[in-house]
Subunit: 68 residues, 2 copies
């Protein structure tokens, strides 16, 4: 995968109190974040189809996030 | 916040079956992803401190992901 910029992920981590992030930890953060988006998108897409739509709306993402 | 590029988030969503992603849905995906990283980083940081370290390691992220 690796679609997200690792620097942005580290920046968010540091904003949230992470003092130092090892490079192995940064890679793990990135991988888990991409997996999170993938799961959220799959669930949101299923919810959109369930509602008879092809376009994912905010409500689908909100619903998907409850169970992810 | 908005540290992550929204285009990258949409790209990951589309790779995972999302046909069309409304702009409100894209913004929701982005916000939830940033919140996910923030939570994961906070927990990983606490785990690193718990282990007497200032540097977050992969094992902290793995541990944090189990409960996030």
């Amino acid at each position: 995968m690796v679609d997200l910029p690792i620097a942005a992920v580290i920046r968010i981590a540091k904003k949230n109190g992470a003092e130092r992030v090892g490079s192995d930890a940064a890679a793990a953060l990135l991988a888990k974040t991409e997996a999170y988006i993938a799961n959220l998108a799959k669930d949101a897409n299923r919810l959109a189809q369930h509602a008879g739509r092809k376009t994912i709306k905010e409500e689908d993402v909100d619903f998907a996030a409850k169970s992810t």
